[in-house]
Amino acid sequence: MTLWSRFRSWLRTTLGRSRMESEMDAELRFHIEAYAEDLARKGLPRPEAVREARLEFGGIERAKEECREARGATFLESLAQDIRFGLRTLRKSPGFTAVAILTLALGIGANTAIFSVVYGVLLAPLPYHDASRLVVLNETTPRVGNVSVSYPNFLDWRAQSRAFSQMAYIAQVSFNLAGAGVSQPENIDGESVSPNFLSVMGVRPFLGRDFDPAEGKSGTQRVLLLSYQLWQSHFGADHNVVGRSITLDGNDFVIIGVLPPDYRSLDRIDIMLPIGVWATNNPSATAREDRGDSTVVGRLAQGAPLAQARAEMEGIAARLAKEYPAANDEFGVRLRPIRDAFVGNLKTEILVLLAAVIFVLLIASANVANLFLVRGAARTSLYAWFAARSGADSREHWTLK
């Protein structure tokens, strides 16, 4: 027998079950009618001939069942039978079914919820180009721990570091958004960044242009990028928004573009400005001891490991501490991969939580298995009776109710 013909026959049986059934009917009917006609030709009255033909054919239903078996339909059919039986059993004992489903649902639900968090925080790729080479830097002091970075220190870091190919400064800012087109004044948060910030991150504006280097110097024109969300909620996703102005803290800012939809900062932001705007008339831009609310991100140079960058940066920080003792005495520097900066200190907790809910699912499964076991044990004698009565190879004893 060829495997191919067996497969074809099985496929036809599976796909065209109802057609096969009606064909089988037609074939057997043809047989009986043809035989009855032959009998009638031999002189038997018509009704009697049909009856005789039926009688001689034997059990039609049995023949059909044997035909179905012969063409390999029985595996799927008995599977369907088992499923139907399973559903019937579950319907018959709603209490048992509810407990089993609820137990499993709890376990699976908890797992899904926690896994979504784990995926979002630990596994989902960050929306930056080659994010594994991005490092977040901040200053440290023995008294406070982690602190922001002073802008003059950042300028020295950037000038002296070789392990980083690029470095950018990010200062948190917030404004009062009011004026034309805004029904109610509201507070919006943003970041003032070095003009190269987006290229450090490997992000391109969704609309409009990136900052240009001149916008890193104080006294530059007031320009900004909108977050995709603010663009959607306040500007109706208008593609002609570039070039329009909005009023922040009473000053007009020209919109030069929109950030991509998947852009993500360490904090939620609505707008992004060039650092030159932040530095304009801002004493923090020149006072070394001034540490506002800021951080630094750097892209490791090709072939420079994090450890090398860390050693280099610690050297630079020590030199700056000696050079400017008033502002930098005892200040050090901390480097973290950007993924760690996003996760914060929660990594261990999240993994412990994940392990915990996995155990909850295991326990739930074990509980359901126990329920079935108990129910099965209560039926052992019944099974034994059925097996003895109907023969162990019969399907019958599997389908008692």
Binding site: S5, Y35, E56, A63, A70
Partner: protein, 113 residues
């Protein structure tokens, strides 16, 4: 006339293949042809004919197609496939060898032992 013989176990498949090898037949035609060739000496259970046909088709030795019967009715006709032809040859050889061996045994007389 002798009472018709019941079929030997396992010979129905071979007889169907032989009947179909002489030309395409519908199920009832297979029955008639076997009775005709055997001159009424063989009794075939009509109910067991169709499972055998379906089994042979499932195994790829015959195929079926719907056509018109002698009296213009739709009927399912069976044809021998080339695999079926080889199968029939093999079965025939086996049967002849077996029949020869059995006959040899049954014809044995005390002198020959």
């Amino acid at each position: 006339m002798h009472k018709p013989l019941d079929l030997l176990q396992g010979t129905l498949d071979m007889l169907i293949l032989k009947a179909v090898s002489l030309g395409p037949l519908h199920g009832y035609g297979v029955l008639l042809r076997i009775q005709q060739i055997s001159k009424g000496h063989l009794e075939i259970q009509q109910g067991s004919l169709y499972p055998a046909l379906y089994r042979l088709e499932h195994q790829g030795w015959i195929t079926s197609a719907w056509g018109e019967s002698e009296n213009n009715r739709k009927a399912k006709y069976y044809h021998l496939t080339s695999a079926g032809k080889r199968r029939l040859q093999a079965e025939t050889d086996k049967w002849n060898r077996m029949a020869g061996v059995i006959a040899g045994i049954l014809h044995t007389t005390p002198e020959k032992v």
